[in-house]
């Protein structure tokens, strides 16, 4: 039937139509294939270079190899800051399909606080999408195991091994060494991004910050071939990193620990210096904190706990704490009096226990008055004035010197200016004179204020470090060095820098130092109680500085006064007096008096000399 139909059709016309259509189709095919060929020609020949570069850039990635941070040793080679291997959890952002799901999953596996997530968010702004951005540092063994088991459901997660700063002694060196912390947003904007590729931490405080550049080292780079998921397949070429320099400090673990333990719960600071080179043997500020807390981001709660504590553990009292130096300045002012010819070693001053300016009824009390009801002795000379810390003698000397001459005689000891110690945040203290008061307070200097200054009170402020440095000047009879924490860098000693010498006659030095020896070794010396059982001689000077002013006739009664208003106790010392090996300055904050300070100094000196005798350095 169908064949019959076909027969009716105009087969000739059909074949013609078909022929035309076929040739049309062939034309279309040829045109379309030409278009394809043209397109591939454009991509493969015209734009070849561009796509070749693109494909190389795809597969080849420049990776940073972070350098190992330099180690920090004490003077005997004990490690104070090390790098410990640890593992961190990082996220490759471009591989995350659903951030919420990922977080939910992760939270069921490991502890993950909001802070860590916030920090991650802040950090990822600066990273390329294929970079692994750290989410949680310092994974525990357990967490690593949990993640390893669930690796297949967490394709965007990578575990990275790295070295993390570790401070084995924790609080003991929190202020001496400082700490590193994770680079924050502000720092990210400031640092050289190339130099810090792959580095997460940098020095934040103290030595770690001061020496950041040499501790950090130089970043290494390697070209790696990666697949589309960022996995490194092979290293094409690499330039190894240069590790940071190791620092060996003058700080001595034993001395540091002796000072730390001797202070006990007392707020305060201890600075011990080797007077032969200015090396800082101990730098303690109490209370401290565990530096390790800061390395991987301290929690906000822990941080505000430290920040808001009334005991200000974050304050490095040794270099930032500014205290009235009290009577510790007496040897220095005494030397100034001798040098300026205002007094001699034989000059005596009558001491009824108080002093008043001519034509003024106000009485300036000597501290001994409250205890004995009289002065130290009917006539007091310089040596006795130092040994027994006679205020009346110094009121008289101060009146005669005037503030400007006094400031002039104290300046060579380094008061009122930075010592230049290689540590951050050092404070200058205040060495007042008439100029200073006019400039800063806009007021003239009153003669009565000179009397206060003569016993290290009033406007005068000094840091424990400055006092230790001044003690070094006394110990060396005028010679001193810029204090420094770092002894050697990669085994090479750093240059010792001498301070401008204080030139004074040897007799004057002898007189002043004899007075200081009397402080410990004479029966009436203010620190005589540490003078027993000594195998070496100590030259020292006690100090007590007022926290609040006492009314003219008021009496300072320790028991009735708030703890925070109690006097600070100070003590400076060097030993052996004849040939000093160590100087030390101690401040016991609100310790009541110098008796809170000098036992600490004794403990530090004992630690030093027990070592020397035992054949130590």
């Amino acid at each position: 039937m169908s064949a019959g139909r076909e027969a009716l059709r105009d087969t000739h016309r059909e074949t013609v139509i078909n022929g035309v259509r076929v040739f049309t189709a062939i034309l279309i095919v040829v045109l379309a294939f030409s278009a394809l060929a043209w397109r591939y020609y454009t991509l493969q020949i015209v734009q070849y270079e561009r796509f070749l570069t693109q494909s190389d850039r795809n597969r080849v990635r420049l990776e940073a190899i972070p350098p190992k941070r330099g180690l920090i040793f004490d003077r005997k080679g004990r490690l104070l800051a090390s790098n410990e291997p640890s593992h961190r959890l990082s996220v490759v952002v471009e591989r995350v399909n659903d951030w919420d799901i990922l977080l939910t999953k992760l939270k069921t596996l490991i502890a993950l606080d909001e802070e860590a997530i916030e920090r991650f968010e802040a950090r990822r702004q600066y990273r390329r999408p294929y970079d692994a951005v750290p989410l949680k540092l310092q994974l525990t063994e357990e967490e690593m195991a949990v993640i390893a088991v669930n690796r297949h459901i967490l394709p965007s997660i990578v575990i990275e091994a790295q070295l993390t700063r570790n401070y084995p002694y924790g609080e003991l060196f929190s202020h001496g060494v400082g700490y590193v912390g994770r680079i924050n947003e502000r720092e990210t904007a400031e640092i050289d991004a190339e130099a810090y590729r792959g580095t997460l931490h940098m020095g934040k405080v103290g030595l770690e910050k001061w020496y950041e550049e040499i501790l950090h080292g130089t970043v290494g780079l390697q070209n790696v071939e990666t697949n589309a998921r960022g996995r490194v397949l092979r290293v094409l070429d690499s330039e190894p990193p240069v590790d940071g320099d190791d620092l060996q400090l003058h700080l001595d673990l034993d001395i540091q620990r002796a000072a730390f333990e001797a202070l006990g719960d007392q707020r305060g600071a201890v600075v011990a210096i080797d007077p032969t080179n200015g090396g800082v043997l101990a730098l303690v500020s109490k209370p401290g904190f565990d530096s390790n807390l800061f390395v991987n981001g301290i929690s906000n709660r822990a941080y505000s706990g430290l920040r808001d504590s009334g005991d200000t553990p974050l304050l490095n009292r040794a270099v930032q704490g500014q205290y009235p130096p009290g009577s510790t300045v007496k040897p220095m002012i005494g030397l100034g009096g001798l040098e300026q010819g205002l007094i001699t070693a034989e000059t005596t001053v009558p001491d009824p226990g108080w002093y008043s300016l001519p034509g003024d009824s106000r009485r300036y009390r000597d501290w001994i008055l409250r205890i004995r009801g009289t002065g130290h002795a009917p006539q007091v000379d310089l040596q006795m004035a130092i040994a027994e810390s006679c205020d009346v003698y110094y009121y008289d000397l101060a009146r005669r010197m005037g503030i400007d001459a006094m400031a002039e005689s104290l300046a060579p000891f380094g008061l009122g200016e930075l010592t230049g110690l290689d540590i951050t945040s050092e404070k200058t203290g205040i060495l007042p004179n008439t100029d200073w008061k006019r400039r800063v307070l806009g007021q003239p200097w009153y003669p009565g204020e000179s009397l206060s200054a003569g016993i290290g009170q009033g406007y005068m402020l000094a840091t424990p470090l400055q006092l230790a440095q001044a003690t070094m000047v006394l110990a060396n009879r005028g010679i001193s060095y810029v204090p420094s924490l770092v002894w050697r860098v990669n085994g090479n000693p750093v240059d010792i820098e001498e301070r401008p010498p204080l030139v004074a006659s040897p007799e004057h030095w002898a007189t002043v130092i004899a007075g200081m020896v009397g402080v410990v070794h004479s029966t009436a010396g203010t620190a005589a109680s540490i003078g027993s059982n000594l195998s070496y001689t100590i030259a020292g000077k006690t100090g007590t500085s007022q926290v609040i002013g006492i009314a003219q006739d008021g009496v300072y009664d320790e028991d009735e006064i708030l703890e925070r208003h109690r006097n600070h106790g100070l003590f400076i010392a060097f030993a052996p007096a004849e040939n000093p090996e160590i100087v030390v300055a101690v401040i016991a904050e609100n310790g009541g008096g110098s008796s809170a300070a000098y036992p600490v100094a004794r403990a530090v000196l004992d630690a030093w000399f027990s070592e020397t005798q035992n054949g130590g350095l």
Partner: protein
């Protein structure tokens, strides 16, 4: 026929010779040779595209073997049988397409598969062959060129299954199936005036279709085509990476197994839809041109078979099958090179995959059936 004899001197002599094995098996060697070259070459590229996975290559060889058997089988069936069974196959396919929404299994948000217990298949794949058969059979009942009534009937045959497939949703396959039917209409002599009006209508309907018909992911594909850089890590990734693979191949290519884009997993779907990028990267423009040439040979042979066909049914069917093959090649190579939107179209006979391999070889088998049909009129 006289016209064609001028182009085909000796064609009659060929049929007077004794039967060779290929004639006995109804094989068209001029068609089969480039097809086999393509398939073998495809295995070489696939080995690289699968990153040296011989398992993939072996599975593909199995696909090819099944496909060749299907082709051989299809070549044995008489053309008249195809014509008579076309409606049955067509309506059975429509029936299966209707079943899909109710019994189908889905993947990636679309239901396209029917499960037969041990194996799954896509009814839309059967339609790829059933459609041209049906439309060609339809026109054997009418005069050529078709009158409007025949034409609109044919359009109905094209639109209904296309709409069913589009609703799965699978717009790409739907358009390809519609195209295979439309090519029959074109070959049947659809008047140029109609063609021009249809083209104009299509252009005019583009904007409303964009607003009301296309789904977001479909729009996304078009937008990605226009500006792949706008979504580098998302939808644009595939196109950027495939263009990079192609472009970085240059004239000579990076060498077999040396393509970094494919071997380092930058290239998506490097065994299936994007395998041309592997070829372009590793064998360069030279390889691409050779591939185009082989396809051109197959296509020209297909048209030749159409020209030589004894019946109108054979002529229409051969032209449509050939044009459909051409569209696959064009769409696939165009989309990978970033001049057409990404739709799921494999590179014929090269891409990894059983279904497309079997359907394509089956249609080539039909082409061979046409090619080896006895010359009723001449004898």
């Amino acid at each position: 026929m006289a016209d064609y004899d001028r182009y085909l001197p000796g064609s009659q002599r060929a049929f007077s010779r004794r039967k060779t094995i290929s004639q006995f098996l109804h094989l068209d060697l001029l068609l089969l040779t480039p097809v086999l070259i393509l398939m073998i070459g495809g295995l070489v590229v696939l080995y690289s595209g699968s990153d040296g996975d011989s398992g993939t290559v072996i599975r593909q060889i199995r696909n090819q073997a099944v496909g060749l058997l299907a082709m051989l089988f299809a070549a044995q069936i008489r053309l008249d049988t195809y014509r008579r069974w076309a409606p049955a196959l067509f309506f059975a396919s429509i029936f299966l397409l209707v079943l899909v929404p109710f019994f189908g299994v889905g993947a990636k948000g679309a239901q396209r598969w029917l499960s037969l217990g041990v194996m799954r298949f896509q009814p839309s794949e059967i339609m790829k062959l059933a459609m041209p058969l049906m439309v060609a059979a339809w026109f054997t009942r009418y005069t050529i060129p078709p009158k409007p009534a025949a034409l609109f009937g044919a359009l109905g045959l094209v639109i209904i299954p296309a709409a069913l497939i589009a609703s799965q949703p699978d717009l790409g396959t739907s358009l390809l199936v519609a195209a295979s039917g439309f090519f029959v209409i074109f070959m049947a002599g659809l008047s140029w005036w109609y063609l021009a009006s249809a083209a104009a209508l299509f252009a005019l309907s583009a904007w409303p279709a964009w607003l009301f018909l296309l789904k977001d992911y479909q729009k996304q594909r078009v937008l990605t085509l226009l500006d792949p850089e706008s979504d580098k890590l998302g939808a644009g990734w595939n196109i950027i990476q495939s263009k990079t693979a192609i472009g970085s191949g240059g004239w000579e290519g990076k060498g077999w197994m040396q393509g970094t884009q494919s071997h380092l997993d930058f290239l998506p779907e490097s065994q299936t839809d994007f395998i041309i990028a592997v070829l372009a990267e590793e064998f360069g423009l030279r390889g691409v041109l050779v591939l185009l040439l082989i396809y051109l040979l197959i296509i020209l042979r297909g048209f030749w078979v159409g020209l030589k066909a004894q019946t109108g049914f054979g002529r229409l069917l051969a032209g449509a099958i050939t044009l459909t093959l051409f569209v696959y090649v064009f769409v696939n190579m165009g989309m990978v090179a970033g001049i057409l939107p990404v739709v799921g179209v494999p590179l014929p006979l090269v891409s990894f995959g059983g279904t497309s391999m079997v359907t394509l070889l089956l249609s080539l088998g039909v082409l061979m059936a046409i090619s080896t049909e006895k010359r009723v009129i001449d004898q």
